[in-house]
């Protein structure tokens, strides 16, 4: 088992070097933690406490009760009363109110009528997320109490997967893939290029160690690091944001392992092309940005143009997002997602073949 000993020797050396690189060690834990806190707390797609203004042209007991109900929801924060239509628009213009509600003078007759809008909701269109708030308001039971028929379609969408509409539930699993992409690709690409840059590789390839032993030995520690990061994200997600894993943990780790391998193989390919660590870093970013933007992490996959969807199909993160969402949120099993697993597997195989062909034990 000489090959195994050589492989383990390379892996042990890599771990030893890593353990002496304090900044990189810090990043292994720091990147997931910081990203999770940033996305989990700061970037918040659920909107609460939106400033609002009301122009009550009806001034009846029903309209006053409506305004009171609006104030009781957490969607709206402070509600200002406007006396005229012009005052209302000025409030919006100055940004003091992002949502304005106009109650028609003949509120009760319109509600009874059922054909004309009794409430008009004005939304500050420069902030797209607010449209959701408006939709939420329209679906409020307060209108039902007043006798209106809210659109049942809107209500359904709101409660489909994430009844509390908390971003963290979507963010935690998606972030798992994004963080693994960032660290795995960059770490492997630069770990190999660094040896080339410092001249270590010239010495190594003049020894009996084979390309496969060298590559596997260098990648092995990063597989472990990837699994540690996955554990960290899922644990933090559970304790900080209360996101449970609905599916089996074994499925989660198997899926993560496949994705880690796919990301490492991409890093490996980059390392066979880049001549310096700086180049490797830039190439990693080039592959990372589309992953983050097009994999369905930022924007819904369905909303993207056809061409973009095709590109997204090539990115491993797209498929991993599907897998991990399924396992964490919907309680699916890995076997339920064979197409995604197959696509990730194909990506891995292609990358490994191309990298091995490109990496020769030569300098030219």
């Amino acid at each position: 088992m000489m090959w195994l000993d050589r492989l383990l020797a390379v892996a042990a050396k890599e771990v030893r070097q890593l353990s002496r690189d304090r900044i990189t060690m810090g990043l292994i834990v720091g990147i997931p933690t910081i990203q999770l806190l940033l996305f989990g707390y700061a970037i918040n797609f659920d909107v609460r406490g939106v400033s609002a203004a009301v122009l009550d042209q009806s001034q009846t007991s029903l309209s006053r009760r409506l305004v009171g109900d609006l104030g009781a929801t957490q969607l709206l924060g402070k509600i200002r009363q406007a006396r005229t239509d012009r005052e209302l628009r000025e409030l919006m213009q100055r940004g003091e109110a992002n949502i304005a509600i106009v109650i028609a003078p003949d509120l009760e007759r319109r509600i009874a009528d059922g054909n004309r809008a009794a409430l008009q909701i004005l939304v500050d269109g420069s902030q797209p997320a607010l449209e959701n708030v408006a939709a939420g308001l329209a679906a409020m039971p307060l209108l039902r109490r007043a006798g209106a028929q809210p659109s049942p379609r809107v209500v359904e969408i709101q409660v489909a997967y994430n009844p509390e509409k908390r971003t963290a539930v979507q963010i935690v699993p998606a972030l798992c893939g994004v963080i693994l992409t960032m660290t795995m690709v960059i770490f492997t690409a630069s770990a190999i290029v660094r040896e080339r840059e410092r001249g270590n590789l010239e010495l190594l390839i003049a020894t009996p160690v084979s390309s496969a032993e060298l590559m596997a030995g260098k990648l092995l520690p990063y597989v472990a690091i990837g699994l540690i990061q996955t554990t960290l994200i899922i644990t933090l997600g559970y304790f900080l944001f209360g996101v449970p894993v609905e599916g089996r943990l074994l499925d989660l780790y198997l899926g993560a392992l496949l994705f880690i391998a796919a990301s490492l193989s991409l890093g490996l390919l980059i390392s066979t092309i880049a001549k310096t660590q700086f180049q490797a870093m830039q190439m990693s970013i080039v592959t990372m940005l589309p992953s983050i933007l097009m994999s369905g992490f930022m924007f819904p996959f369905e909303g993207m143009p056809k061409a973009a969807q095709w590109i997204a199909q090539v990115l491993p993160l797209t498929h991993f997002n599907e897998i991990i969402r399924g396992i964490v949120l919907r309680g699916a099993a890995l076997s339920d997602m064979r197409p995604e697993v197959a696509k990730l597997g194909t990506f891995l195989a292609v990358m490994l073949v191309v990298s091995t062909l490109r990496f020769r034990k030569r300098l030219d």
Binding site: M2, D5, R6, L8, A9, V10, A12, K13, R16, Q17, R20, D21, R198, G199, N200, E202, L203, L204, I205, A206, T207, P208, V209, K361, R362, L363, D364
Partner: protein
């Protein structure tokens, strides 16, 4: 005489430039064979082709009976290579570097312990064994690199300018270590641009622009030099230089302290007389005498260096 390396018409091109333009080599076993040449003369490229790191554009190479690059994998177990730049790991200690190289060469636990203990003793690494390689001095690094390159007891050592970043005392010690290895049967091929090191080699190839300009034992090379070496002293060098500028046969002039060393083609019948009359015409009185050639003279005569561009002379 058994042969370690044979190369015929070995050549390598990078783009349009021929780094090595067709050289023949016969390196005998258990000797130190030197490559002497200025930067860019093809020393590193040749060494890299010999150990299979670069594929020759043309020509054949046999190293220790193996055809290169086809059989480089087998050869790698018999070969030690020291790169021009220190290429062990800066963030590992001396012992960790040695341990890793042992494992890469597939040595078992017992052999590892013995070899490492031996190299640490032989190359005086005891005091620095727990120090990280990045903190070592040039001489210490060289000793560590030599220790690491010989862990698997290779039959052939390829050393690419091993002493370029090392002080004179360490260079002397380093060469003592090389002779000790040769005494035990190792063949060593070493490239250098230091004259004193070249003089210590058993045989030598002077490389220039990717070709072998001269080959042989250093002393023989100096004897066979195709040039007359004239030393001029006790003179006003400015007028001497003016006078020599009028002599078309002069191939090079180098000042060494308070004398000038002048090379002329051997074909010139009476070089001393020729120079004396040239100096007399310029009224530059001087002592002119013919001397024996040094290796540096051979180097200057054989490489295409002209005028005062003499190769650096080591202490």
């Amino acid at each position: 005489m058994s042969v370690a390396i044979t190369a015929r018409d070995l050549a390598r091109r990078f783009g349009a430039k021929w780094a090595v333009a067709g050289i023949d080599l016969d390196v005998p076993r258990a000797q130190i064979y030197g490559f002497l040449g200025p930067n860019g003369s093809g020393k590193s490229t040749t060494i890299r082709m010999l150990c299979g790191l670069l594929v020759p554009t043309r020509g054949t190479v046999t190293v220790l009976g193996h055809s290169v690059p086809r059989e480089s994998e087998v050869l790698r177990r018999k070969l030690g290579y020291m790169t021009q730049r220190f290429s062990l790991w800066d963030d590992l200690t001396v012992l960790e570097n040695l341990e890793f190289m042992c494992r890469v060469y597939g040595l078992d636990r017992t052999a590892r312990r013995e070899r490492i203990a031996d190299r640490v003793r032989r190359y005086d690494l005891e005091a620095i064994s727990k120090q990280r390689a990045g903190t070592l001095s040039g001489g210490q690094r060289q000793r560590l690199a030599l220790g690491a390159a010989t862990l698997h007891e290779p039959e052939l050592l390829l050393l690419d300018e091993p002493t370029s970043a090392v002080d004179p005392q360490s260079r002397r010690d380093f060469w003592e270590n090389l002779f000790a290895l040769v005494a035990r049967g190792t063949t060593i091929l070493v490239s250098t641009h230091y004259m004193d090191e070249a003089e210590r080699c058993h045989r030598l190839a002077i490389l220039d622009s990717g070709r072998v300009a001269a080959e042989g034992e250093p002393k023989q090379l100096a004897r066979d030099i195709d040039a007359a070496v004239i030393e001029i002293s006790d003179a006003d060098f400015e007028s001497v230089r003016r006078a020599l500028a009028r002599v078309p046969q002069v191939r090079s002039i180098a000042q060494l302290g308070n004398h000038l060393r002048v090379l002329l083609p051997r074909a010139v019948g009476d070089p001393v007389g020729l120079l004396r009359s040239a100096l007399a015409a310029e009224n530059a009185g001087a002592k002119v005498e013919r001397v024996g050639a040094s290796l540096e003279d051979v180097f200057v005569a054989m490489t295409r260096l002209r005028g005062e561009v003499a190769p650096e002379r080591a202490a």
